[in-house]
């Protein structure tokens, strides 16, 4: 018998928590994007677990689309990082403060 779905769901919740903590505390834009990938993967794992438990293929189809959107997001995000780096020679998000009120 396969391990219960709750184990995988708890694992996904922990992965999401680690990713969220990294996103809130790290300052390099590149590392923040990596933490975003961690959180997206946690959600993907949850979708696949529900797909298995409910015996429904839709969860896996949604994971497929999440992967496509993640790829597009990383492409545009890293393009922005490159453009910002050209102007400021840094990827630290602390230095992007000229829109501060």
């Amino acid at each position: 018998m396969n391990v219960p779905a709750a184990w995988y769901l708890v694992l996904a919740a922990l992965l999401f928590g680690v990713g969220a903590f990294g996103l809130l505390t790290r300052r390099s834009a590149l590392i923040m994007f990596m933490c975003l990938e961690l959180m997206l993967n946690a959600v993907n794992l949850t979708f696949v677990t529900f797909s298995r438990t409910l015996s429904d293929i839709s969860g896996q189809a949604i994971v497929f689309f999440v992967m496509v959107v993640a790829a597009a997001e990383v492409t545009v995000g890293l393009g922005i990082v490159v453009a910002v780096f050209r102007r400021r020679s840094s990827t630290s998000v602390d230095e992007l403060s000229e829109m501060k009120g």
Partner: protein, 190 residues
């Protein structure tokens, strides 16, 4: 006790996946060097792929390795090398006072609250096999065919929309990373 309730291979696979995922994730958020963090991210992605295989999502596991580890992490590494930002970032400095403590508190409250809430009720409820009209998906031998059928029939519109999204993302990335031809004096890149 655990081994008697569930089959030993499935427990071992789960522990392997959990170890890969959590060690890799903690590496991503603690390692100072961006290249090391990216390599640690690959470890997490492999762990997630193992968890996908264990839950008979074979196609997604392959896509996970090819797209994530093969394309996205390589893109990360390429940008790190391209920008030359492979110097260490200080993780000991904390510009905002108490930021880390508040972040930890918020994350622990969210995840702990989620787990505590779900532990009191059923983890998974709902109608089985809605999208396939009650027909269970195949397990073990893989369900690539069912996934393909769902993507190209039920979710055809979303599939076409993702094609447009990818084109827009590629054009946008080229536009953002492009060097200006007629630069102003202040915009001369280093």
């Amino acid at each position: 006790m655990i081994a008697s309730a569930y089959s030993v291979p499935s427990v071992l696979i789960f522990l392997t996946a959990a170890l890969l995922i959590l060690v890799g994730a903690i590496g991503v958020i603690t390692l100072r060097h961006p290249v090391h963090a990216a390599l640690s991210l690959i470890m997490t992605l492999f762990g997630v792929a193992v968890a996908f295989v264990a839950q008979s999502a074979d196609f997604l596991a392959a896509v996970q390795i090819i797209v994530y580890a093969g394309a996205i992490v390589v893109l990360f590494l390429f940008v790190i090398m391209f920008l030359g930002v492979d110097r260490r970032e200080g993780v000991s400095v904390e510009p905002l006072v108490g930021q880390r403590a508040f972040a930890a508190l918020g994350v622990v409250l969210t995840v702990g609250g989620l787990i505590a809430l779900m532990a009191r009720s059923h983890w998974v409820t709902g109608v089985m096999s809605v999208s396939s009209a009650g027909k269970a998906i195949s397990t073990g031998q893989g369900n690539v065919k069912e996934l393909g059928t769902a993507v190209f029939t039920t979710y055809l519109f979303a599939f076409e929309a993702t094609a447009a999204l990818l084109i827009i993302a590629v054009v946008g990335a080229v536009l953002l990373a492009r060097r200006e031809r007629n630069v102003d004096a202040e915009e001369v890149s280093p």
